[in-house]
């Protein structure tokens, strides 16, 4: 299969890139150590002579160049991973379309709930982290940054979809895009929980694309939802989104949000703080409903 060979090739390339990364890192390590020493000496002498200043400036410039190189090669490696993943995803979609499931991706129909939850958790964890170059601002669909108004979710993208349940209640469910019709402006989506069984055709107003990058709280905290903001968040161990307030935003890239779900069974109207991954927290649009 050509896709398989392609993937194998890419994996080899990735391996090389990782090795190069380490070379780059070892190279810059020396310089960083130098800076460290200079810092210490300057601090003990408690004054900055022109000599140190010039020296430090030189060291900083070199270290900066090193860091740039390291960043670029790391980005390269991450791009490679993303490429492999998209190939894998394509393969999965193709299999799904054909109605044949490969061994690595067992049929969803037989998937137990616990397995599905683990998969969702994993997909949230491996959502790529957005690391911009200095001066770059986070792109759309990074963390809390919404998609542009004309954005169209691609096939296979995960979205929050507002569907009408059998009992007439409206609910935001986690769904996967099947197709989008430009003539009717409507999406076809599959409920992630009951794949193949329930297919919904929904107008784009009822679709919120999920973030495609995690925002890094250390560098881009403004691309995160802030405390007390109203959001839709995936309730743990379910595939439904509910209204919630941000309790604490994540502090590190791998951290989750801590959110308070609106829940009338609690005295103050909110659940105790629960963790929800960045991937499953989206802005809540509906203002009219109380």
């Amino acid at each position: 299969m050509s896709a398989d060979t392609k993937i194998a090739e890419l994996l080899t390339e990735l391996h090389q890139l990782i090795k190069q990364t380490q070379e780059e890192r070892s190279r810059s390590e020396h310089n960083l150590l130098n800076i460290q020493k200079t810092h210490e000496r300057m601090q003990t002498e408690n004054k900055t002579s022109p000599y140190y200043r010039t020296k430090l400036r030189g060291l900083y410039t070199t270290a900066k160049a090193d860091a740039e190189a390291e960043c670029s090669i790391l980005r390269h490696a991450l791009d490679k991973i993303a490429e492999i993943k998209s190939l894998l995803e394509e393969r999965r979609l193709a299999a799904k379309m054909a109605g044949v499931y490969s061994d690595t991706d067992p049929p969803r129909k037989t998937m137990r709930r616990g397995v599905l939850m683990t998969l969702l958790q994993q997909s949230a964890m491996t959502l790529p982290l957005w690391i911009g170059k200095p001066g770059d601002s986070p792109p759309p669909l990074c963390g809390a940054t919404p998609a542009s108004s004309d954005y169209v979710a691609k096939q296979g993208d995960k979205v929050a979809a507002r569907v009408k349940a059998v009992d007439g209640d409206e609910q935001w469910i986690l769904a996967e895009v099947v197709s989008y019709s430009h003539s009717t402006n409507k999406y076809e989506v599959d409920d992630i929980d009951e794949e193949g069984k329930e297919r919904h055709t929904l107008s784009r107003r009822r679709i919120i694309p999920l973030p495609q990058w995690k925002s890094n709280p250390e560098t881009d905290p403004e691309a995160l939802f802030s405390k007390d903001q109203l959001v839709l968040a995936l309730y743990p161990q379910t595939t439904c989104f509910y209204r919630a307030l941000i309790h604490t935003p994540p502090h590190r890239p791998q951290d989750d949000y801590s959110v308070l779900f609106e829940d009338t069974s609690y005295a103050d109207g909110y659940s105790p703080p629960l963790n929800v991954a960045q991937r499953y927290v989206v802005a809540c649009k509906e203002n009219k409903k109380k």
């Binding site: 460290q36 900055t48 980005r75 991450l78």
Partner: protein, 429 residues
């Protein structure tokens, strides 16, 4: 300003690289592998996370380095500039004006916003940014207020709130009998029977139509007929009335008079022999009247005092004990009037209901007044509670200062306690 000191404001960041052996095990493992072993697809997720960690750290280092380097450069440039500018006439002003933008640029870096114009405070910059953020309504949805408890308490409040004078006054107002009460107990006089009223209406209508028809004739005839039409409705009506009444009730006497008379003349009817004088009389009358109808004769026969005669007969009958009393015949006569009976029934109901309501209102007013009194007492309890607490605090303060409380303080405390007790007793009664 820190720039004016001899040291550049360096932060001496710790630029230690990430210890990949500790933090990134998978990455370290991959590094150790040969080309042939390669990487498995299943390792991608973990690798991605580790590479992200490395990139994030490198990125942070890059930013910090850039920032520090800029500080060094600025500081050096400034020193150089200063030395150079000291020869100039107004060094400070020109120096600051020249370098402000640079400083601002540095400041701006932290917040990822391009530096604003010189002299503009940073705070404003941040506000402006926030405003931009606000512009997209999707970004900052309104935070929901959970006001269920508030709504609940607002609902319950009226039931628990203190009673005010306003409410007492309202109750008293309600206790006053309404002005229009008498209106409901009035029994309107019996009007004309509907058949008569309808007859009158019909006649009026016919007459109006006739007048319309006459209008055409009038132009020719000159109007004596129209005059008659307009004026003589009443006379016509009277005629019709008499025609209506005559078959049932030929004579103008009241019912009692008739009954009495009937009782007296009955025997005459039985013996036909004695009938003869009547036709004679009639014949005489007919001769006398010469051409008048027997109807008009009966009218002439009508006595003007029939009403008073009827009243007097009634009075007499009552006095003789033949009729029970004034009321009995009245009630008896009215018993046939369904409307009146219904009216009486409803009025009785209304009376009972309003009496009941009045009793309730009075009870409520009494309770409210009592509650007011209690409220007042409770208020006083609260005041004296405070006094007791105050006294307690004073004594505690004295104890803390290791001195026994003064007599005045003790007296005050006792007084407050006793007063509180007495009010509580009052409240319990």
């Amino acid at each position: 300003m820190s720039e004016l000191k001899d040291c550049p404001p360096l932060k001496y960041y710790d630029f230690k690289p990430v210890e990949h052996v500790k933090v990134c095990p998978r990455y370290t493992a991959v590094l150790g592998r040969s080309e042939d072993d390669g990487i498995g697809v299943e390792e991608l997720d973990t690798l991605q996370l580790e590479l992200e960690t490395l990139l994030s750290s490198a990125n942070r280092r890059l930013r910090a380095l850039e920032e520090q380097r800029q500080i060094l450069t600025d500081w050096q440039d400034k020193k150089g500039d200063k030395r150079f500018l000291k020869m100039g006439k107004d060094p400070d002003q020109s120096a600051s004006s020249r370098h402000k933008p640079k400083k601002q640029k540095l400041d701006g870096k932290g917040s990822h916003a391009p530096g604003p114009g010189p002299g503009r405070p940073k705070l404003k910059n941040l506000q402006a940014k926030e405003y931009e953020f606000n512009e997209d309504p999707q970004d900052i949805p309104r935070t929901p207020k959970n006001d269920s408890p508030n709504r609940f308490w607002a609902l319950v409040e009226p039931y628990c709130a203190d009673i005010t004078n306003e409410e007492i006054r309202l109750l008293e107002e309600l206790l006053k009998p309404p002005d229009d009460e008498a209106e409901y107990y009035k029994i309107p006089v019996l009007g004309k029977h509907y058949s008569q009223r309808w007859a009158q209406e019909d006649l009026l209508e016919e007459q109006r139509e006739g007048a319309r028809a006459n209008d055409k004739k009038k132009s020719i005839m000159g109007g004596p007929l129209s005059e008659l039409d307009a004026k003589d409705v009443d006379s016509l009506l009277k005629k019709s009335e008499s025609q209506h009444e005559s078959p049932e009730d030929g004579c103008p006497f009241g019912p009692l008079t008739q009954r009495l008379l009937q009782a007296l003349v009955e025997e005459n009817i039985i013996s036909p022999m004695e009938d003869s004088p009547i036709p004679d009389m009639a014949g005489k009358d007919a001769n006398d009247g010469a051409g008048t109808s027997p109807r008009s004769q009966s009218k002439a026969f009508g006595v003007p005092h029939t009403r008073s005669l009827e009243a007097r007969i009634k009075e007499e009958l009552v006095a003789q004990g033949l009729l029970d009393s004034e009321e009995r015949p009245g009630a008896g006569a009215d018993s046939e009037d369904e409307v009146l009976a219904e009216l009486h029934k409803r009025q009785a109901e209304l009376k009972a209901l309003s009496a009941h309501n009045r009793a309730r209102k009075q009870e409520l007013l009494r309770l409210a007044r009592e509650e007011m009194r209690k409220q007042e007492l409770r208020q006083r309890v609260r005041v004296s509670d405070n006094e007791v607490m105050e006294a307690f605090r004073r004594i505690m303060a004295a104890r803390q200062k290791k001195r026994s409380p003064t007599k005045k303080e003790k007296d005050q405390a006792w007084k407050a306690l006793k007063e509180r007790d007495s009010i509580l007793k009052l409240l319990d009664v």
